[in-house]
């Protein structure tokens, strides 16, 4: 940074780092942005808000040169600029974490963090210096990750943190974070916010996108709201309530949301008769230790626990995605062994995984084709789904999950991140299983759609489907589940009926274990 006088510093402070005005971007058949403006000031966290498909990611990519704009102006540092590639915008001091985690799993953590900016001596990459520098940045973020380890060996949350670390390490005037917190737990979010505050104090402008309203209100100074590719308004966070924000985002009343909350909160005890699934002493070395669990028909079991507590691992065991080392499993009182997901699907179990985006998006197929994939697989490839049935089901779920565009033939690659998530969720819902395992089903999904998904889960369980519901958001778990299982350190530490359990109760259960351990 160049040394400057206080007055000069004050003057630059008021001048925006980036000013976009009248920006329009269109894709064949879609006007993704229509005359949108965005002003980013130094030393401010600016939240970019809007529903799934509102155009947030498109606006970011229009700025950083991934997409070219049809009209409008972009002023960076006082000069009109048009970037033709992410490399150019990065060179101009804009550092970006895109919504799709954009790293190379075949390289190490350090290499990923410093790709393109590796420290060199005599033209050669200085690997030792590179690892050291990466290590320092990771430590600054409070992360205990070995910089020399291969990125692909880490879970998605760590990869997301590494992507953030990479962006933070670039000496940027503008830091853009497109849904950086979607797979992070509360602790990690807190650390990220700390770093963001430090950078803000240093005068960096930050763009923050998230569907978690609490986070937005906790960190942002200003917000720009988009709806259907149009600019709705710019607001000061301190002068805006959550209600006003949500109304600006969805442009309709909140009644729908409230109705759903009521519907979902009627928990009933359904532990009569033989359980649909029962596992005894089920475990796998290094993943989950001996778990006993009973699942009854029409019951929603919520699994709570911190990241890495074994909640995802348990789901994978129940689905046969990992093979247990020990323990028994019974389906409708019959001994069953699930060694592959295929067998689980034959037993009418469906599993929507937390990384469904990287595991499941087939970008060049349509929404409809992506949706019926699991259903087709379970029928066998020789029995095609009748066109009429397929059409009906696809339309039903497009409507139920409010997928946009609501066109069954739209290509998956052209959908916004959140809408892709919804299609993948529909892929499993459409198989109409007896047991549905949902790992982070509402990740990256806007509040309106979140409520719709919660409603759908509640409805399905009323119709007799059993659901295992895993989410980092405790409120959501508590709202939906009839019974609650708490995991910690890869063990089940508590199970109770979800009657008047509060978020702080759950946190205490988790924390209590910590104290006992110590």
């Amino acid at each position: 940074m160049i040394q400057m006088t206080a007055e000069a510093a004050e003057a630059t402070r008021t001048e925006p780092v980036v000013q976009m005005s009248g920006v329009s971007v269109s894709f064949p058949g879609v006007k993704a942005l229509q005359s949108v403006g965005l002003t980013l000031r130094p030393g401010e966290v600016h939240a970019l808000m809007g529903e799934n498909g509102a155009g947030k990611s498109t606006l970011i990519k229009a700025l950083t040169g991934v997409y070219s704009i049809d009209e409008g102006t972009i002023i960076v540092g006082g000069e009109p600029r048009t970037f033709h590639s992410p490399a150019e915008s990065q060179a101009a001091g804009i550092s970006t974490v895109y919504q799709e985690v954009n790293l190379c799993t075949n390289l190490t953590v350090a290499e990923n963090m410093l790709l393109g900016r590796e420290p060199r001596s005599f033209g050669r990459i200085d690997t030792r210096a590179m690892n050291r520098r990466a290590g320092e940045t990771l430590t600054r973020l409070g992360l205990d990750i070995d910089p020399k380890s291969q990125l692909g060996t880490h879970p998605i949350a760590i990869q997301q943190l590494v992507a953030i670390a990479r962006a933070v390490d670039i000496d940027a005037e503008l830091l853009i974070l497109d849904e950086p917190t979607s797979s992070l737990d509360a602790d990690e979010v807190a650390k990220l916010f700390e770093v963001m505050r430090t950078l803000r104090a240093e005068g960096v402008a930050i763009v923050f996108v998230s569907h978690f309203l609490e986070q937005v209100f906790a960190i942002s100074d200003r917000m720009t709201v988009l709806r259907n590719g149009q600019f709705v308004g710019e607001y000061l966070t301190a002068e805006t309530t959550q209600l006003q924000l949500v109304q600006a985002m969805i442009g309709r009343e909140l009644e729908t949301l409230e109705k759903i909350e009521q519907a979902a909160e009627e928990h009933t005890v359904k532990t009569q008769g033989a359980p649909l699934m029962e596992v005894i002493d089920l475990g796998r070395k290094g993943s989950v230790e001996s778990v006993d669990l009973q699942l009854f028909e029409g019951e929603v079991i919520g699994i709570a626990g911190l990241l890495g507590s074994g909640r995802t691992e348990l789901a994978r065991l129940l689905f046969g995605a990992d093979t247990p080392d020990h323990g028994d499993m019974r389906m409708r009182s019959k001994g069953t062994k699930l060694r592959t997901p295929r067998q689980a699907i034959d037993h009418k179990i469906a599993f929507s995984s937390e990384n469904r985006r990287s595991e499941g998006v087939i970008a060049d197929l349509s929404i409809a084709d992506n949706m019926v994939l699991a259903m087709q697989a379970s029928r066998g490839w020789l029995r095609p789904i009748p066109a009429r049935t397929k059409d009906r089901l696809v339309r039903k779920y497009i409507e139920a999950l409010d997928i946009r565009p609501a066109d069954p033939n739209a290509l998956m690659r052209n959908l916004s991140g959140g809408n892709q998530q919804k299609v993948l969720l529909a892929r499993w819902l459409i198989t109409e299983p007896e047991l549905l395992i949902l790992d982070e089903p509402t990740r990256g999904i806007d509040i309106g759609a979140k409520a719709q998904i919660q409603q759908l889960v509640a409805d399905l369980s009323k119709d007799g489907m059993s659901v295992v519901f895993i989410s980092a958001e405790l409120e959501e778990v508590l709202r939906l589940s009839d019974r609650l299982v708490v995991m910690r350190d890869r063990r089940k530490i508590d199970e109770r009926a979800n009657e008047d359990v509060t978020v702080s109760d759950v946190l205490e259960i988790i924390a209590g274990e910590v104290r006992n351990d110590a």
Binding site: L107, E118, G286
Partner: protein, 338 residues
């Protein structure tokens, strides 16, 4: 995807570590180590079965006979690491021998000939790279076209084979470098120098890192602001250059330009790269592996010649089996990650 070992299991009760430590070294080198082990095992079996096989000269002769293939495999490794493929290399080798032989016959000076050949190969690579990147056409198709084009050009130059009588070339061909009681040729030195330079470029330069990044995920590399276009085109230029250089070595080896020569050599190069542990999907592998892969192929040939009773078709059969085995091994490695 690459080969990955699952993190060490945590002792029961304690929280599993979120980060696995210190496992990158063996993982990345594992396929190469497997190839080296295979090579040593083959050498052991040969020494046991055939008299005289155990002489270091057997190994050195493998190098002598295959120096051009090493150069070719090095270039191919760059391309495959980005997830591409270059089918044109065999034809470019043939074309290079033809250009060299024809221009030498026309009385050009040897250095000028060498520069011309290397330039031609590089420009061909550049053109293919540009088409692949900017028109977004599969490398398979573009380099297939390049293969036909280069082969066709051979016939434009001459319909029959042209002997090389130039002094520089012949003296280079008959030159040997003594190592104790054994010898290698200058071509071997050229191949080894190319190998070392390639390793340095791949592992110690930003270009090299970008090659791996593009192979890992081109989309990510682009969003990270890396020079994807330059890198993708660059690897085809390198492959073109290496093919031309291999062509020069080959013309010295055979002392002729032959338009039907080097047929199928691109497949030998690809086989060597794959046996050397490089993933065809890109992003993982080492040039050293490709060189050892060439040696493995060469050693199979030594087996055939030492045995005397085996038909040379056994070479093809063995290469086929080996290739399959190595691809299966790689498959198993990548399975473990998911």
């Amino acid at each position: 995807m690459t080969t990955v070992i699952s993190p060490p299991e945590s002792p029961a009760g304690s929280p599993a570590p979120r980060a696995s430590r210190g496992f990158t070294f063996p993982t990345r080198f594992l396929p190469v180590i497997a190839t080296i082990a295979l090579f040593i095992a083959m050498f052991g079996v040969g020494s046991f079965r055939y008299e005289g096989f155990s002489s270091p000269q057997t190994l050195l002769s493998v190098l002598v006979d295959n120096s051009h293939l090493i150069v070719l495999a090095v270039g191919m490794t760059f391309v495959i690491l980005t997830g591409g493929i270059d089918l044109s290399v065999g034809s470019v080798v043939a074309l290079s021998t033809m250009i060299a032989a024809e221009t030498l016959r026309a009385g050009w000076a040897a250095p000028l000939v060498i520069v011309t050949v290397l330039l031609t190969g590089s420009v061909l690579g550049l053109l293919m790279g540009l088409v692949i990147h900017y028109f977004e056409i599969q490398p398979f198709i573009v380099t297939l076209a390049g293969m036909f084009l280069a082969r066709g050009l051979c016939y434009v130059i001459s319909l029959e084979s042209i002997p090389i009588k130039n002094e520089t070339f012949t003296s280079f061909a008959s030159g040997t470098i003594e190592i104790g009681d054994y010898f290698i040729t200058p071509s071997v030195i050229v191949a080894l120098v190319v190998l070392v330079i390639a390793a340095v470029v791949l592992h110690m330069t930003r270009f090299g890192r970008t090659v791996y990044a593009v192979g890992g995920s081109e989309q990510s590399a682009l969003l990270m602001g890396l020079a994807v276009a330059r890198t993708k085109v660059g690897v085809y230029v390198i492959s073109g250059f290496c093919s031309a250089l291999a062509g020069l070595l080959f013309s010295i080896y055979t002392l002729s330009g032959y338009n039907l020569g080097a047929v199928g050599m691109e497949l030998d190069a690809i086989a060597a790269v794959v046996i050397g542990g490089t993933l065809l999907t890109g992003g993982s592998g080492l040039v050293l592996g490709s060189a050892v892969g060439v040696l493995v192929l060469g050693l199979i040939q030594s087996f055939i010649s030492f045995d005397g009773t085996l038909s040379s078709w056994w070479t093809k059969i063995t290469i086929g089996v080996l290739l399959l085995v190595f691809v299966l091994i790689q498959r198993l490695f990548t399975r473990r990650t998911t």
